[in-house]
Symmetry: C2
Subunit: 232 residues, 2 copies
Amino acid sequence: MARPPQDPARQLERAHRILDAAAELILRWGYDKTTIDDIARQAGVAKGTIYLHWKTRDALFVALLRRERVATLDEVRQADPRTVRELVRALSAGLLRRPLMRAVLLDDSEVLGRLTRVKLDRPISADGFDRFFGELREHGAIRPELSLGEDIVILSSVIYGFLMIAHHTPPDYRLPDDRLAELLADTAHRALDPGRPVDGEHAAAVARATQDYAELASVLAQRKLDDSLKGA
Amino acid sequence: MARPPQDPARQLERAHRILDAAAELILRWGYDKTTIDDIARQAGVAKGTIYLHWKTRDALFVALLRRERVATLDEVRQADPRTVRELVRALSAGLLRRPLMRAVLLDDSEVLGRLTRVKLDRPISADGFDRFFGELREHGAIRPELSLGEDIVILSSVIYGFLMIAHHTPPDYRLPDDRLAELLADTAHRALDPGRPVDGEHAAAVARATQDYAELASVLAQRKLDDSLKGA
DNA sequence: ATATGACTGGATATGCTCATTTAGTCAAAC
DNA sequence: GTTTGACTAAATGAGCATATCCAGTCATAT
């Protein structure tokens, strides 16, 4: 019944269909209770087909998370951020809208099950981050009295705190995601900003560094996702 | 062997000795693995004596946590904070130094065991908090564009985030607690501060409101602790 | 060449018994 | 009146046998 000798585009479409199925089921039942059979049924393929794409269940799940990360970082890149504030705003809006990303970031065992104990890719790319912050500092976009490391602690704490508090707040009391992203970005900005305005040339350099970082993170994430999908 | 007809001060001292024992054991082995017999042995009293002070095991732990809270809030009050920044600095320094407070705040099941599922007093008193923030806003000490509720989300997120990130950072990379408290307070301050300086009269009102809140929180916590200790 | 789903073995869950632990009591000792 | 620790009932845990489930394979079908 399966004839088309090989059509890579069709294969890829099928891989995504399987990941869609996995995403839906995992969000509903959690990782531990989602079986390959469930996913196959939901995706309308046979179980064996899934193993044509990924060697193990975990590999499938890694692919799923990488796809989410790519979507998030792509969205960030497309927002074309030119400041830390814009970058953080786009990123946190993206994370808030993606339950799987939140689950990884917050290490939520309701969703991740035993995967909690496994080393997963960090949702936000660390590669190039130090360099990026170094450039920001050089161009006067970060308070100079903060040592390297301190700024990173501040930024992670703010992002983590907002997401976690939002996660633990009953939906009725919850601020809208957009507003939350706004407040989060604002808090991060105020925590890091030196106060004195950055002049034109430096502002341009900051914009470039920010765009470059968004670009780099996106590309690296895409590369990893490709790895996860190439076994077709 | 137990004669002194009744000396309330001695009773109280014994209650504290028992709580000391409980604190030490819980921090070492966690709640689930700490038995009343262990505590009695460590405190040098018989098991029955413990039941002269508290009706159940849980009541003892509640007393212990309330005592920690009193210590924390007392420390805050003694720091005599006159601004939000000073208040947050003192509070977070106090929390960082108290593993049990951190465990409650972060809902750490390693320490709290099955107590994680139980409703505990929030470590930071919520009573009077809204009123306090209302006064701050009135006197221009909080950004007016933040709606009520938003400021509280910001403050909780920042505190929670910093404590959680610190908790998950291996000690070698960890910033010193004092520095962390400083950065935390600074971040909270920058997030909430309207920027324009508060003039003398308003500054005095803010100082008073802050001291009043610290005082109130401290007194309420003390009252609850007294409840937990009066069964002598 | 591709896709399938029945099949398998290892892992996990379930139900059980029996042994140990431990929260809370209370009669006796002081 | 105050403190104690042996005591009890209930809970927890260890050990095991059996049933169920499910990740991963592969002979077969198209």
